[in-house]
Symmetry: C2
Subunit: 245 residues, 2 copies
């Protein structure tokens, strides 16, 4: 471990991405090579690192996100701190930590952040460790206590997306109402009535219709929209609410 690293505190980022079909999370491959195949393994983990000395938590999260994806200016939000003394005590975790020169007995507190990106903007190959997008509904057997962190991160996202306009962070700048609806459906794991959804979306001033349509689709091209943060701020009466079902 680098000497300007704080060995007691780490950040784990739950990086959510939406590909217009499902909600994904960006995972890194954790591969341990060993001559004894009963010891070698390959599984997956969230994106995480220790913070540096004198680095704020928010700065560390942004740095880690940048180092993994090459992206800056990304929505990032802290959601929970995990500090169980045995959180790095699974068998594989111990083997892994030893293999990279760390003492599994040292208690590490990790701070969970979730971030929202549009799946297409990420160069998955940016990271030296193999990174890939996985459907959040199919993820299992993550490293360390990352299952739990992902679960809590998803809960935080669900809570927040119902009361603040963060859905747009997962979409490209121009999007269709069907894409927005699908996003809410996969994040909240519900079905939404199309007419009711559109009525509600169109009532809000800050979802702005553009004089532009979808291209290169094999059906009637849809109207494109943008989210206007300016209009949102100017008109909000602290009552953003997105509760269906």
């Amino acid at each position: 471990m680098n000497e300007d690293t704080n060995p007691h505190i780490s950040i784990d980022c739950v990086i959510f991405g939406f590909d217009f079909e499902k909600l994904n999370v960006l995972l890194l491959e954790r591969r341990l090579e060993h001559e004894d195949p009963s010891i070698a393994f390959c599984d997956q983990s969230l994106v995480g690192q220790h913070i540096k000395l004198k680095e704020s938590l928010d700065d560390a999260a942004a740095r880690i996100l940048f180092e993994t994806t090459g992206l800056t200016n990304i929505y990032l939000e802290q959601f929970y701190a995990f500090g169980a003394p045995d959180r790095l005590n699974k068998e594989r975790a111990k083997i892994w930590l030893k293999s990279i020169g760390r003492d599994p007995a040292v208690q590490v507190i990790t701070i969970g952040y979730f971030s929202l990106v549009n799946t297409n903007t990420v160069q998955v190959s940016y990271n030296p460790r193999h990174a890939s997008w996985c459907d959040v509904k199919k993820v299992e057997n993550l490293a360390f206590d990352h299952d739990q962190i992902l679960k809590k991160g998803l809960e935080a996202l669900r809570l927040k997306i119902k009361s603040e306009p963060i859905a747009f962070e997962l979409l490209p700048q121009k999007f269709t109402l069907s894409q927005l609806q699908k996003l809410y459906e996969v994040v909240l794991d519900i079905n939404i009535d199309k007419r009711n959804f559109r009525k509600k979306a169109l009532q809000s001033d800050y979802i702005v219709a553009l004089s532009e349509k979808q291209k290169d689709v094999l059906h009637k091209p849809a109207q494109l929209f943008m989210f206007s943060r300016e209009i949102y701020k100017a008109t909000k009466k602290e009552d953003f609410s997105f509760n269906f079902k």
Copy 2:
């Protein structure tokens, strides 16, 4: 600092109490004696301590709450982690930390918890440092970054009290509807219409009328009620909602 203490991680508890009139927070006196009166000072801080080695965050928070108030089995909830590298760098903070033998240059991450108690149940004198209940609306100039922690804790409480039945943690077991209403009013800093409030409260099955009335009041005694967690769990359709105004 004790040798089984983790010097990098602390817990700060925002202990809320309701006295039927206002929302209070429990603060400890921070008094520095010094022969030079320009150095000596006395101000206030939240209740906080470092965690111990191998102690979970939740356990540490419960321990600190117990050591300060003598209470166990209290509602406690983690709400945010604070890690700005300069968070202990105010002038008084540095003087204070040196006076108790700690290095102000060491970065400490603190995890914020809020807890809810009925003001009357706390023996304020339990703690060796002078502890007192202060109206949250009047608190100012707290030690370290505790202003910020209190603010965020209050936001977390406000958010949660609208969607989960935690208000009852701040009340005695038997309470009147006016007391419950007043609680929501002071926590959310709003006025609520009495008839609408009562209508809503009485619709819920889990606020149960007792065959008992208030005593020793100089007006018409009010009906007493209890919160039934059992009924709440059995009947909730994930739709607790307490949104007035």
